[in-house]
Symmetry: C2
Subunit: 301 residues, 2 copies
């Protein structure tokens, strides 16, 4: 699971900071999460292969989370993209994108599918045989979802030495990977545990931005491997955090601690703070296993 | 007259090139012309004072000319802008901007006025006592206007030595600047030409992007001081230029020559070309007084 931070600052793009966007590479998927203005340039800067993005997840319709979407969709068009593109986001996103394409008299040469979200309950928005993506309903000034990306438990791994010892033919390999025991020609049974290793442990990543401190998300993100939680403010601005429905570093750490996540990753910093260290000082005493996003940062989990 | 090129490349923004946007500083105005994605960051990079922009002119609704507008409008909102902001652009621009503000539940704390353009004839879109702005209808794949910025002839300049020689009182100064002769107490008349200098020669700037080669614009831009004319392609791609309704370097130079402009400035280069020199080689033999825009370039006329 590899996460590239394209942007992790709140509000307006600046010469040195970018609004929210990240790329999660997980089980051969390249998921784009949020798409602030300048995301396509950040993709280029970070040398990520545009064309591999087939699914874009938009948390909410504040500009710093989606103003780069129409530009990316248009660029895909100019680059003669062919594969389908799926956009998951709040109701309205389709109208906004199509209105602009219509006025520019442009039509994508690829299929563009919108999956508009309106539910206030968590729901599965994407699923294949390897990965599951669920919404995490968040409380913010407008309708907002976080997203939980969960790897599925994969096949058991063949213990190839043991398999050869029993002279088992290739045609049985998938059956073995699926956990089945094998009956040999002499009628004896080889238990699956003897010829396989456990599958790779599935990982999970929860993206929660933007949100006020909200314990109701805990059951959804409990025990996840990595939690990205917004921390727009410090406790010194806790009133501002409440009124704008954002979180402080302390609050993000408390959610991580209560949800028993393995790792906390923080971001969506207000640009009023001179250094990310301030967030670290506030969060670490509550939840020590905390990392700090920065634009261009790459995290492998 | 000072022109800052924020971006002058066609199609998609890249790490090293930006889509169209420029700032024209003329007689105390700071006019923004087009606003591709990333314009607000380019304004910051070029250390231009955002807040002085009160008028934004959008040529057409292709993304590389206006996808940065909604972000700039939102940033003005976050920076607590108070002065009115006027946006001049094709019909549809208001709907696009307001739709996005509505979905983000945002309202500008300043007055945002849209001046939507539909005319196929040149029209005056802005005028005060110092400057006049007219549209230059262009032929492109969608409804497009260039803009002609004309300084008005200012007051005549006082020849202060001569004025003092005649003991003329201050209260007559504006009358003199307006070109009037002065009658002295003894009844004798001092002709205006004796006590004034000619006013500063008014300058004009024509912005023409995007457009196919089109001689019908010549009467509108004739004799102007500076013509910015798009040159997306070279003659080697003249078929592509025709089919996409863009111009080649040769064609831009021909328009400059036929319109007898003082200076040609080229831009809107396709990113397929490795160097701007290629455009120079093609244009200079036809129109020698040619400059080449580049992102971050500043031109004083």
């Amino acid at each position: 699971m590899k996460l590239t931070i394209l942007g992790c600052y709140a509000a307006t793009p600046r010469t040195i900071t970018n609004p929210t966007s990240q790329v999660l590479e997980i089980r051969n998927h390249m998921f784009l999460i949020d798409c602030g203005e300048g995301t396509q340039v950040q993709l280029r800067k970070n040398k990520l292969k545009f064309s591999k993005i087939n699914h874009i997840f938009i948390s909410h319709l504040h500009g710093d989370h989606f103003y780069g979407l129409i530009g990316l969709i248009s660029t895909f068009m100019l680059l003669n993209r062919k594969p389908d593109l799926h956009v998951y986001g709040p109701k309205g996103i389709k109208e906004i994108v199509l209105l602009q394409l219509r006025y520019s008299n442009s039509f994508t040469g690829y299929n563009l599918y919108f999956h508009e979200l309106t539910s206030l309950e968590s729901e599965v928005v994407f699923e294949d045989d390897k990965v599951l993506v669920k919404t995490i309903p968040l409380k913010h000034r407008i309708y907002t979802n976080g997203f939980l990306f969960e790897e599925k438990i994969g096949d058991r791994k063949l213990n190839i030495d043991e398999v050869h010892k029993y002279n088992i033919e290739t045609c049985y390999f998938q059956k073995i990977k699926n956990g089945k025991d094998i009956t040999l020609d002499d009628g004896s049974i080889v238990p699956n545990s003897e010829i396989t290793f456990d599958p790779i442990k599935p990982k999970s990543y929860a993206f929660c931005s933007d949100t006020i401190y909200d314990e109701t998300i805990i059951p959804l993100i409990e025990n996840c491997d990595v939690l990205y939680h917004e921390t727009t403010f410090l406790e010194s601005e806790s009133e501002k955090a409440k009124s704008t429905m954002h979180s402080t570093a302390k609050e993000a750490a408390m959610i991580a601690q209560k949800a028993n996540v393995k790792q906390l990753l923080m971001g969506h910093y207000s640009t009023r703070y001179a250094t990310i260290n301030l967030f670290q000082q506030e969060a670490e005493p509550i939840f020590p296993n905390v990392l700090f996003a920065d634009d261009g940062g790459v995290f492998e989990f």
